[in-house]
């Protein structure tokens, strides 16, 4: 007897690593592990919400994200609905539309009509969702709830509270508990009397307190530093990198008419995610400081105003003279942790070209500043964004060459000192350190703010601020990050890379018409580890020297 052959089992279906979700009839493939609201966004569908935030725990409290899920009779909060392969979601039904209008009505009945005086206007989720999903008329005609004594009040050193505007979404509470880990904020009382506040005596004072104002979807929490200064729709946003420390948080410089009004964090999950520390954030104001607006040259005993080409010519002449009389090793080139990779590179190339091996960069140490990326905590400990980059570019003494310590400790006296950043470190304002540097016959600097060094210099060129130039920094992770120019520097101020190109060309190296992109081309060829940093990849984002990342640029 023969047994029939058993048919071979069909090969197992290839395991999908995405889930299929159907939104309003359209299927879309999404990765697992995200929220349904994020999945909808991938499908190009906006599910309005207030309390959901991609990095905070899901609470499902605002009820704005209600949708219909096939198979479930009652409307469901999208944010609390787990992703399941084959989930069918409807966001345009009458039930959903009504629920959104209802929630908007409920949120607005007690909300003060503060828009004309509220900083949040223009970037307010309540405005946006009211406009998109609410009714035009209000049916509420009772007394509105107020939190007397909790408006126009500092709740911490940076954050102003106007709690009558609060919609009790708890994003701020969750930020302080889950990200900052300090838990200063809580709900007090309950029901319609619920108030978000601190425990008396313990203000909202963690290192990232202003992020609570960022996550607040309305104007209940805002920053003192920005209050009433500018309407947000007036501001032009430029992607940049925070100058505060070597973590290199991605920021958006928000400016208008040559004034920086604020920094906002720019999303980069690999560095600062959605966050920005208070110290770095409020460095924004420092970009507006300018003491040095003129080109000056010391002639005899007095300072003479001149123009940039004349000053550059003067520096070049002094350099030639020094090389002729004492040789190139009598010069000292001082880079800076505040200058870009391009600028530090050009300084080093100039030194190389001139045969000088005396270069250095120093940075002041700070207390450790921690920043939460999406997956880990990053620590910075420098008061400068680009020490790593300056070192990578080679701004360190060559073999047998002298460094800054040699100068400051009296072991060596240069005859000529060139410092493209007069504010290179705290030492620049120290009388003893400046006295040592001043022992040189000729001292030339570029500066924006005045200090002891700039006041002692023979030539002072006005320099651009971070907002007034473009370039790249290398952060503590070895990540090269690009910053863009927000607006032009006020003439005659120039970016240092432009000044250095002019000087180098005068001395026979390089091309004064090069752009920072051209300089990066050279860096790619010559500096180890920077070969893979392409322009496309740098645009608005940052890469590891040996890896790849692109920032979305979203704020």
């Amino acid at each position: 007897m023969s047994t029939p052959a058993t048919p071979a089992a069909p090969p197992p279906a290839p395991k999908k690593d995405t889930l299929t979700i159907v939104f309003d009839g359209q299927p879309v493939e999404v990765p697992p592990g995200i929220n349904l609201i994020e999945a909808a966004k991938l499908a190009g569908i906006e599910i309005p919400h207030f309390c959901f935030h991609p990095r905070l725990s899901v609470v499902g409290q605002c009820r704005m994200c209600l949708v219909e899920i096939e198979g479930i009779p009652k409307i469901q909060a999208a944010c609390t609905t787990p992703l399941k392969d084959g989930l069918v979601v409807k966001t345009t039904t009458e039930k959903v539309r009504d629920s959104r209008a209802a929630n908007m009505e409920f949120l607005l009945i007690n909300h003060p009509l503060d828009c004309p005086i509220c900083d949040q206007a223009g970037e307010c989720k309540l405005q946006d969702n009211a406009f998109g999903y609410g009714e035009q008329r209000s049916r509420y005609d009772e007394r509105k709830r107020q939190y007397a004594g909790y408006d126009r009040t500092m709740i911490g050193p940076h954050v102003v509270a106007d709690m009558t505007r609060c919609i009790q979404c708890t994003r701020c509470i969750r930020f302080c508990s889950e990200i900052a880990g300090t838990g200063e904020l809580t709900f007090l009382d309950r029901g319609g009397r619920t108030l978000v506040w601190t425990h008396d005596g313990k203000p909202l004072a963690n290192d990232w307190s202003a992020c609570a104002a960022d996550v607040c979807p309305v104007g209940a929490l805002t920053t003192r530093e920005f209050r009433f200064r500018r309407r947000v729709w007036d501001l032009q946003k430029t992607p940049s990198v925070c100058p505060g420390c070597n973590v290199g948080c991605n920021i958006s410089i928000e400016a208008r008419d040559g004034v920086v009004y604020r920094f906002l964090p720019r999303l980069n999950p690999a560095v600062n995610d959605y966050w920005l520390c208070d110290y770095g954030r409020f460095r924004s104001e420092s970009l507006n400081e300018r003491d040095v607006s003129k080109v000056t040259v010391r002639e005899g005993g007095s300072l003479q105003e001149t123009i940039v080409p004349v000053a550059i010519e003067r520096i070049a002449a002094e350099i030639r003279a020094t090389i002729d009389s004492e040789g190139p090793s009598a010069m000292f080139f001082l880079g800076s942790a505040h200058l870009s990779n391009e600028e530090n590179f050009l300084l080093r190339k100039l030194a190389d070209h001139l045969g000088c091996g005396n270069l250095d960069v120093v940075v002041d140490r700070s207390r450790v500043r921690r920043m939460k990326s999406k997956t880990e905590w990053i620590e910075g400990d420098h008061y400068g964004a680009n020490y790593a980059g300056a070192v990578d570019m080679g701004v360190r003494p060559r073999a047998g060459g002298h460094g800054l310590a040699d100068v400051l400790e009296g072991r060596w006296t240069p005859r000529l000192v060139l410092a493209p950043d007069a504010g290179f470190a705290v030492a620049a304002d120290d009388p003893d350190a400046v006295a040592r540097l001043r022992q040189a016959r000729f001292l030339a600097v570029a500066a924006r703010t005045a200090n002891a060094l700039s006041r002692a210099a023979d030539v002072v060129l006005p320099a651009a601020s971070l907002a007034q130039k473009e370039g790249s920094f290398t952060n503590v992770q070895g990540r090269v990050q690009r910053f863009e120019r927000a607006f032009l520097p006020p003439p005659p101020a120039r970016p240092q890379w432009e000044l250095l190109l002019m000087l180098a060309a005068t001395l026979g190296w390089g091309d004064r018409n090069w752009t920072p992109a051209d300089v990066r081309g050279l860096i790619r060829k010559e500096v180890e580890g920077y070969g893979g940093v392409t322009e496309e990849e740098l645009a608005g984002g940052g890469l590891m020297k040996k890896g790849l990342f692109v920032s979305t640029g979203a704020v």
């Binding site: 409290q61 704005m64 209802a102």
Partner: protein, 438 residues
């Protein structure tokens, strides 16, 4: 055949709280039987299922089925049983009676239930206002430990169990099972998103069952006298067992009354053994049959109205906590609705938008109408606000409860509301006044 009290058998007896009284009366026999070796935890659950016992806290969910939701494999997590003694539904006072007068009946039921659930630890979440009840329970639990009914290796069975009394501090929402769980964890009593359900992920992230005081007392009797006996009591097989009814309002004899499940409403109000009729010979105007969260019924609707889960569901209301509040013809319905709206706006936890904003709104509008400042559109407005607060709009069903008195009173007494708005005063009565008691 007269009904022999089961749950209230010892109420009124001298030293009814003492374990000696309880044991002399056959107390803890059921526990001995269950732990004696013949009953597995699964068998106990089956017995409770067979009895048809439905939760006595308000939801009426079949208890045995609820117990079955605990996963077979709890992945090393302990199972917690929580006794919901937070009794805060207006009109309800049966659990207070049970705990103050006969605590061991509940404790025995709790230990048996814990055995069925393989739970090592249980808590009694008792509302803060029950100072006396908590003291009585503490003493009774200490007695139970002394006699070996609690602690390690109870009655040599290998089953160990601990009970801790945990006092609340004034929040109705902690009677909601996930609000209770949050409160037990030391937080604000804000209900959780479901799913996950407590049976899978409850207190301390572990499988948890929350049962009402009266439910646990029923378990004692089911295991003492059998599921069949229990199931024979009551109107039908879906509404079984003895039931405690809390009668209050304008009747001659308010109080806790025990009767088989399904007692006709009219018997409760007018029976000599029960409410004995309306005070001062007034007529019934409306009855809230199941606590503040239940839709009001009119005098006509209570004519043929069995007081059980299905009987009241058929009337589009609910048995809830079996709190029957009777309002006579001198009651201003708008005022009653206003008072209930005040309750709900005070007790809303405040988490989610529709309830946090809607409950005070309802209260404010009703306040205005009651004080003579109603506007023509207010009655429709109340219905519109209510209808956009419930049915999935909120995290828990507190909002659904809050709108029940508003919608039912408007639906059944719309003319009275209209009168109130148009004439700027009550149709009947005024603010109720205090009468001197004899």
């Amino acid at each position: 055949m007269t009904f022999e009290p089961v749950l209230t058998a010892r109420v009124g007896r001298d030293r009814s709280q003492s374990i000696d009284t309880y044991v002399a009366d056959g107390g803890y026999e059921a526990l001995r039987k269950v732990l004696g070796g013949d009953w597995t935890p699964e068998a106990v659950t089956e017995e409770v299922k067979k009895s048809g016992l439905r939760g006595r806290g308000g939801a009426g969910f079949p208890t045995g089925v609820k117990w079955g939701f605990v996963p077979k494999d709890t992945k090393g997590k302990p199972v917690y049983l929580l006794c919901n003694a937070d009794e805060s539904e207006p009109g309800t006072f049966k659990d207070r009676l049970l705990m103050e007068k006969d605590p061991h009946q509940m404790i025995e039921g709790q230990i048996i239930s814990a055995y069925a659930l393989k739970s090592r630890t249980s808590y009694v979440y008792i509302r803060g206002e029950f100072f006396h009840g908590a003291r009585v329970l503490d003493r009774a639990i200490a007695e139970a430990y002394e006699k070996g009914f609690l602690g390690e290796n109870i009655l040599g069975s290998g089953f160990s169990h601990d009970i801790t009394v945990h006092r609340g501090a004034g929040a109705y929402i902690c009677g909601e099972e996930t609000g209770l769980i949050e409160s037990l964890e030391g937080k604000r009593g804000q209900p959780r998103i479901k799913p996950p359900f407590p049976a899978v992920f409850g207190v301390f992230g572990a499988p948890t069952i929350v049962n009402n005081v009266e439910t646990l007392c029923c378990v004692t009797h089911i295991m003492k006298r059998g599921a069949e006996w229990f199931a024979k009591i009551g109107r039908n097989e879906k509404n079984t067992g003895p039931k405690l009814y809390c009668l209050s309002g304008h009747v001659n004899r308010p109080g806790v009354y025990e009767a088989p499940m399904g007692l006709p409403m009219k018997d409760l109000l007018f029976g000599d053994a029960f409410g004995s009729g309306m005070k001062d010979g007034r007529k019934v105007k409306a009855v809230i049959p199941g606590g503040a969260s239940a839709a009001m019924l009119t005098a006509e609707e209570i004519e043929d109205c069995p007081l059980d889960f299905d009987g009241l569901a058929a009337k589009k209301s609910m048995l809830g906590s079996a709190a029957i509040i009777v309002m006579n013809e001198d009651t201003c319905i708008v005022d009653a609705a206003r008072n209930l709206a005040k309750f709900f706006s005070h007790e809303s936890c405040g988490q989610c938008t529709p309830c946090r904003e809607g409950t005070p709104w309802l209260h404010r509008v009703l306040d205005r109408i009651e004080s003579g400042e109603g506007r023509a559109e207010d009655v429709d407005l109340l219905e519109k606000i209510s209808n956009q607060m419930a049915n999935g709009m909120t995290i828990c069903v507190f909002a659904d409860a809050a709108i029940a008195p508003v919608l039912s009173s408007i639906g059944k007494f719309r003319d009275e509301y209209r009168y109130h708005v148009e004439n700027r005063r009550c149709l009947v009565g005024s603010r109720p006044s205090v009468e001197a008691t004899a």
